[in-house]
């Protein structure tokens, strides 16, 4: 199969039963994509597929043929965090950090379509991402902060 990963072309040999999440982690080394529940609930494996957030544990690798995949590795890095990641850090929106990559993707997906979301809209947009540490309040604050910063440029 061929697809674009974070702007670069990728070629992988996969069997039909291979999940996209496994290709991303094992073949491509984009290990920001986490496997939590592995049944489409927790959202730790959330990525962008053709610009839309999806759960990569519920996508067959072959379904990504010719498509555009984006993971966290495509934007921020440890040295240079992007706006959403920076806000998550400042607002203490993570403890163990396992859910964070999926959270950040979902937050970005929300802010792309809705630059100034209400609390309710943020909660609704993040329903598909579970965090077992923070209790979500700080995640909410972080997304709000990121929204403010993105709006003020």
């Amino acid at each position: 199969m061929q697809f674009r990963l974070n702007g670069g072309d990728r070629k992988c040999k996969v069997s039909p039963r291979t999940l996209l999440v496994d290709v991303l982690r094992d073949e491509c080394g984009t290990t920001s994509v986490h496997i939590g529940c592995d049944e489409g609930i927790c959202g730790a494996c959330t990525i962008f597929l053709n610009g839309e957030s999806v759960k990569s544990c519920l996508v067959l690798a072959v379904q990504a043929e010719g498509k555009d995949v984006e993971t966290l590795e495509g934007t921020g890095s440890v040295k240079e965090l992007d706006v959403v990641q920076q806000a998550f850090g400042e607002e203490f929106a993570l403890q163990c950090g396992f859910c964070t990559p999926g959270m950040v993707v979902s937050a970005r997906a929300l802010l792309k379509n809705n630059p100034n979301p209400t609390d309710q809209e943020i909660r609704a947009a993040m329903v598909g991402n579970l965090c077992r540490c923070t209790g979500y309040q700080n995640i909410l604050k972080a997304v709000k902060k990121a929204a403010e910063r993105l709006q003020s440029g």
């Binding site: 069997s15 039909p16 039963r17 291979t18 999940l19 496994d22 592995d38 049944e39 489409g40 959202g43 959330t46 839309e52 957030s53 999806v54 759960k55 544990c57 519920l58 996508v59 067959l60 072959v62 379904q63 043929e65 979902s106 997906a109 929300l110 609704a124 947009a125 329903v127 598909g128 991402n129």
Partner: protein, 269 residues
Amino acid sequence: MRPASFGYQLASNLIDASQACARGAIPLAGGQSLIAAMKSRQMTPELLVDIGELRDLRGISIKSERIRIGALTRHCDLIRSELLKEKVPWLCEAASLIGDVQIRNRGSIGGNVCFADPRANLPPVLISLNATAVVGSSESSREVPIENLFQGFRENALVAGEILLAVEFDVVEGQKGSYRELSPQLNGVPLVNVSVSSGNSIGVGVGGLNSCPLRLIRVEEALVDGIGPALEAFDGEAFEPLEDLQAGAKYRIKVGRVLLRRALEEVLN
């Protein structure tokens, strides 16, 4: 877990897809139910035919007050559709309560219907709207009342070679409707769901009260005498709901009655 091994074919047109289905392939659309069921090995198909690229099966249109929704139209498309928001907002509401953003970005109306889970969100609404399923194969196509598509727990009535192409329903000026569900988790799978739609006649669809979604014909008939008789007709039905750790049969039936009453009151009063 990972799915058991299977063959995969990408369909480039409907004939391809239909021929694969005639050989026993299961159509793969968004895969949000199918892939999950394959991972847990509840389903172990030998061949999948990926219909995801059949763009003709996508989209929402209206022609002489009849709405057509292509089978591959995703839940997120239903929610965003200005046409549906104006004409049948309760269908949009039912779609907005499916899974989460990520699931709705991939899951399709055709998959939601064909997976035929008794608790799926969209079937009760489509039943209440008296929707028709447009089903096609490489040779022919036919139209079926949507409720006839549901045969049993996760069993649909499509025969070998057939694929769901679209659902269609009439919209009427001043039409009202309601979708109600009780779900133990926010945006989770409902225990029971109910939809009522007015129009030329009042339609009542329920989920979670049997092995597949149902039209409540006796309740519909009793509605000419009002909500009270309709609820009595509900009490006279012999439901056989699922029972699991979340809820027993009696509780689900009780909840179904409450949801039905609220939906009827919303639509009729």
